[in-house]
């Protein structure tokens, strides 16, 4: 697997507190990698270390094939777009003037500003200063700055913060389309499971600074346990016969088996004079898995 980001034992300690602990992150090139974790798990600190804004206490980070050091930070970041925490916006300047700062620093053509503004649909803002922008508009401006110059790698820290539902959907679609349309790799952090589920194809789950799970999203879904729940004309007897447990709602819960076993089970119940009233297949969702992996609430 060709990785655009690879960390090896990346650690950051503030005083006695280990914020990021021996993190081995592997972001495949061309993927949308969802970096998932509760608030305070160490996502932002990790992303700042990848950009060279925070110096690791131990371990290394390799970004786009280059080991990040304080000396080569600028060379590496020339190919990286980022939006970390809140967007950087000069409130007294217009959106165009704000992007002019990034354009100038990146040495891009003037047309890149129009392109970036159109991508995040801020091309109509004209002479309006950013101080008059809503939180969502500022977030879009931050995204536009990150997208300028079509970077090979995008680091987006909770990019949908402050957006309205339509805006959230729009940005999610944009992020999802980036690898195919612009050929870039995206590392996007969030504490929202549903968001990562909708945007990413790879996921890393971080808790208390440690990576608790990492891999393709499909593999995470495949880890989910499956079972059957049924209601019968006599649930107590059915549970006894099937050696099954009962849920709080009174359902009889049995481990999922192949179709043949399920058929035998229902016929067996029928032979005992117990009619199957309802039979439903259930499985753990991503939130249950997240809860099990991190030991926290699903979305904090």
């Amino acid at each position: 697997m060709n990785c655009c980001i690879q960390t090896d034992g990346l650690t950051k300690t503030y005083g006695d507190t280990e914020v990021v602990s021996s993190l081995d992150l592997a972001v495949p090139c061309g993927s949308v990698y969802g970096f998932l974790g509760p608030n305070g798990a160490g996502k932002t600190t990790t992303m700042k270390m990848l950009l060279g804004l925070v110096h690791p206490t131990a371990g290394t980070a390799t970004v786009l094939g280059t080991l990040v050091t304080p000396r080569n930070r600028l060379q590496v970041n020339a190919h990286v777009g980022s939006l970390i925490e809140s967007p950087s916006c000069y409130p007294h300047l217009t959106a165009r003037e704000n992007l002019e700062v990034v354009r100038s620093l990146r040495g891009l053509p003037k047309s890149s500003i129009d392109e970036a503004l159109a991508t995040v649909r801020l091309d109509h803002t004209g002479s309006k200063p950013v101080r008059a922008f809503s939180l969502g508009m500022r977030q879009r401006l931050g995204l536009a700055a990150a997208l300028m110059g079509n970077p090979e790698l995008l680091l987006l820290d909770e990019p949908t913060n402050g957006l309205d539902p339509a805006g959230i959907q729009e940005i999610r679609e944009l992020i999802r389309s980036l690898p195919a349309e612009r050929g870039c790799t995206v590392l996007v952090s969030s504490h929202l499971l549903s968001e990562i589920d909708q945007m990413s194809d790879h996921v890393g789950i971080i808790s208390h600074g440690q990576m608790v799970w990492q891999g393709p999203l499909s593999a995470l879904h495949a880890q989910a346990r499956h079972w059957l729940e049924l209601h019968t004309t006599d649930d107590d007897r059915a549970a006894q016969l099937l050696k099954a447990s009962r849920t709080d709602e009174g359902w009889v819960r049995v481990r999922v088996r192949d179709d043949e076993s399920v058929a035998r089970m229902t016929l067996g119940l029928a032979r005992e004079g117990i009619g199957v009233v309802r039979l439903e297949e259930r499985h753990e969702d991503l939130e249950d898995l997240f809860l099990a992996l991190t030991g926290t609430e699903a979305s904090l």
């Binding site: 950009l51 110096h55 020339a78 980022s82 950087s88 000069y90 100038s104």
Partner: protein, 248 residues
């Protein structure tokens, strides 16, 4: 140059030029009153203006240096822009551009002030227009003294996001500049804004039984230039060291 142009672009709509004009106008108004006291065609009119300008500058130019240095740093604090800038720009280039930007604004103020002094002197028909060397010496002394103020206040403004600290320090510097002229030279050298008058080559002697001041020019005070350069370099080096170690 690109970094410097960016600093000026970021100051757009921050009314820096207005502040420059207001403070230069305040200095010139004072100098105009001073010239009025000399009377039309006064023999020591130019000397008097050359002596009074640095005294006024120790208050007003140190205040302008404070405001400009604070603005230049605060514009990025306010925008929460350090993360973005430090991803794309070297710390030395960023801080250097800020220092040069602030100094160019102060240089504009000094240039306007010198033009104003010429106009005032001409209006009052003072005789014996000073030589180009004298004008250059006055400009240099005020710029170097401002460099010290900009470096110190700039360092404070960079390291403390709350600009109250920088502005309060600048106001203290400005007040100290006003009173530093009354201190012995050794003590005056400890006050950064005291260098506006220490570096000037126009000196005055009071006394000899006469109430009229006697002006005379001295050679460039090289020791004081060296001291103020050392103060400025120390402030810049401290700001660079602290800032480059700070994590965004």
């Amino acid at each position: 140059m690109r970094s410097l142009a960016l600093e000026f672009a970021k100051l757009r709509r921050k009314h820096v030029l207005l502040i420059v004009l207001a403070l230069v106008a305040a200095v010139l108004a004072w100098l105009f009153a001073d010239a009025h006291g000399e009377g039309r065609g006064g023999a020591t009119g130019w000397h008097s203006l050359f002596f009074a300008a640095p005294i006024m500058n120790s208050v007003f130019l140190s205040l302008l240096s404070t405001v400009v240095a604070s603005r230049v740093a605060d514009v990025d604090h306010e925008a929460n822009a350090w993360k973005q800038l430090l991803c794309l720009q070297g710390t030395g280039s960023l801080l250097g551009a800020k220092l040069v930007c602030a100094m160019l604004v102060v240089a504009l103020a000094v240039a306007l002030e010198l033009v104003g002094i010429i106009v005032i002197g001409r209006m009052w028909e003072f005789v014996d227009l000073p030589t180009v060397g004298s004008w250059a010496s006055l400009a240099l002394s005020q710029l170097v003294a401002s460099l010290c103020a900009v470096s110190i206040i700039g360092a404070i403004a960079l390291l403390w996001e709350n600009q109250f600290v920088a502005v309060a320090s600048g106001l203290t510097l400005s007040l100290a500049g006003l009173f530093s002229s009354f201190l012995p030279t050794a003590l005056q050298r400890l006050v950064p804004s005291g260098y506006y008058t220490l570096l000037t080559t126009m000196q005055v002697v009071w006394g000899n039984g006469s109430s009229a001041p006697v002006f005379h020019e001295i050679a460039l005070p090289l020791l004081d230039y060296a001291l103020v350069a050392a103060f400025s370099a120390a402030a810049c080096a401290y700001a660079y060291k602290k800032f480059s170690r700070r994590e965004a």
